[in-house]
């Protein structure tokens, strides 16, 4: 049986000055339409490399990626990305940054329609007041909201999120996690989120793959998050389902680490 997204035997080695570095050593991953999957691992284990490979921004050395029946060979808006470092274009307003994505997937849109769609995505992340501001006028949390709006504006078959909230302070991070939870509840996009925050993964994801520390990182067995939706941050940590998921991930990652350290 074939899955909505199927990643098989993905390998990637980078050539560094000190010799080749094998980052990914055969990653397998599968996703169904409308699923939210998180990949959790230590910093530097190769999570960003995996996201870049699925996005098609870099080429793999071995393995295949098939999304909705099509083999991934190059980047495209059907695999939208929210980058860790926001990657907003500083010479454009919030509106133009989002409109760039709207234009990319709806080339024939009329002026009024283009405006309506763009403003809708900006409103979705609660940034309507900042529509005409430039990125340098925004806080980190607002920047990442714009990046999320841009990612969603691509109307992707799969939204890739590369540690989207890791550069934010804890309070802002929590707010954005809650908002992402709400948006995902409304739209049911298919999402892969990479993170080093176990609680973030449990709050948001249906399923969590722990990633072994590199070199030659692979994904461990998936851990299902048995929490019912809609989820709420409050009381979540007291439920047995939460504790079971958390224990599973932390134990796996610690065991990996012991093997290396």
């Amino acid at each position: 049986m074939s899955h909505y997204l199927e990643v098989r035997g993905l390998e990637k080695t980078f050539r560094a000055a000190t010799g080749p570095v094998r980052v990914l050593g055969g990653v397998d991953l599968s996703l169904e339409d409308g699923e939210f999957v998180a990949i959790v691992g230590y910093s530097g284990s190769g999570k960003t490399t995996l996201v870049s490979l699925i996005a098609g921004l870099i080429a793999s050395d071995a393995g295949t990626i098939v999304l909705d029946g099509a083999v991934v060979t190059e980047p495209g808006p059907e695999r939208g990305i929210v980058f860790q470092q926001y990657s907003l274009l500083p010479w454009m307003s919030v509106y133009d940054n989002v409109a760039l994505a709207v234009d990319a997937v709806n080339p024939g849109l009329s002026g009024a329609e283009r405006r309506r769609v763009t403003e809708e995505f900006i409103a979705l992340v609660n940034l309507s007041e900042a529509t005409w501001k430039r990125p340098r006028e925004l806080s980190g949390g607002m920047l990442q909201r714009v990046a999320v709006a841009r990612g969603l504006a691509m109307r992707p078959k799969l939204l890739l999120m590369d540690e989207p909230f890791s550069a934010l302070d804890a309070l802002t991070r929590a707010t954005l996690q809650d908002e992402l939870l709400r948006i995902w509840g409304e739209r049911r996009s298919t999402v892969i989120m990479v993170t080093n925050d176990v609680d973030e993964a449990i709050l948001l994801a249906d399923r969590i793959y722990p990633m072994t520390p590199g070199p030659g990182a692979v994904l461990g067995p998936a851990i299902e998050v048995g929490l019912e939706r809609p989820r709420h941050r409050r009381h979540m940590s007291l439920t047995p389902a939460y504790q079971k998921a958390r224990q599973g991930i932390v134990e796996f990652l610690r065991a990996c680490r012991r093997g290396w350290a």
């Binding site: 190059e74 495209g76 808006p77 695999r79 990657s87 010479w91 454009m92 760039l100 990319a104």
Partner: protein, 241 residues
């Protein structure tokens, strides 16, 4: 606050006084042909106080001469930008080091008609070429990745990402090019014997009016300084990141 302002005025004033003193001493002792500051002023004041008089092709007020030179520089400079910017973008997008192309370009262009404007353009375009090329090649991979994910067309990639991202570098190139263009004006006008600050300088040197040489040198310096400051203002407007 007032002491800082005082220091900002005092230091240049002290420097100027020191230079004038040194000049006066040198003109009285080792260099007998060098006119003293006072003699220079007496012989030059008509050129400064009536900057737009015109007695003949080569005997005109400093304002008029500077105007001719500025027009000539403007033409050569705009030509430099018009040629240099696209070459810079091309080099920046190609994989070859921009410096490797430089000698080849010189060989090709050197044999062309050595008119003043062309000389200015030729000399002044390299900072624009190199800065543009370096700016384009230094564009953050993050911005390019956005364009790749959105599958922007070549034209959109250029207008939405590559040009705006490299603009700060391009304008630094423009600023450096302007400085060179203004420096080259002297050589260009010497070669062609046309009226302008540089031509005037050369003529007065040949007729041994040393005070007017000093006048020309100071004029060239002052205008060069003003041009650089103006371009600096333009440059800072484009510092987006």
């Amino acid at each position: 606050m007032s002491s800082r302002l005082g220091a900002r005025l005092l230091l240049p004033f002290l420097g100027l006084t020191a230079v004038l003193l040194l000049w006066a001493v040198v003109s009285q002792t080792v260099a007998a042909d060098l006119p003293s500051p006072w003699k220079t002023w007496l012989e030059s004041k008509r050129y400064i106080l009536e900057p737009f008089f015109k007695d003949g092709e080569m005997n005109q007020g400093i304002g008029r001469l500077a105007f001719y030179s500025l027009v000539r520089v403007a033409k050569g400079y705009l030509l430099a930008l018009a040629i240099g910017t696209p070459i810079g973008f091309f080099l920046g997008l190609s994989r070859i080091s921009p410096l490797a192309w430089l000698p080849l370009g010189l060989v090709v262009f050197q044999r062309s008609e050595p008119a003043a404007i062309f000389t200015i353009a030729l000399c002044a375009m390299w900072p624009t070429v190199i800065n543009t090329a370096v700016g384009v090649r230094g564009i953050s991979q993050d911005y390019l990745n956005v364009g790749r994910v959105l599958k922007l067309s070549k034209l959109k990639m250029m207008t939405k990402i590559i040009i705006p991202a490299s603009l700060p570098y391009v304008f630094t190139g423009y600023r450096l090019s302007l400085g060179i263009a203004w420096l080259v004006i002297v050589a260009a006008e010497m070669l062609t014997g046309t009226p302008g600050v540089g031509g005037f300088l050369w003529q007065e040197y040949n007729s041994l009016v040393y005070s007017h040489i000093i006048l020309s040198v100071i004029t060239i310096g002052a205008i060069g300084f003003i041009l650089d400051r103006l371009m600096g203002l333009v440059e800072s407007r484009f510092k987006t990141t």
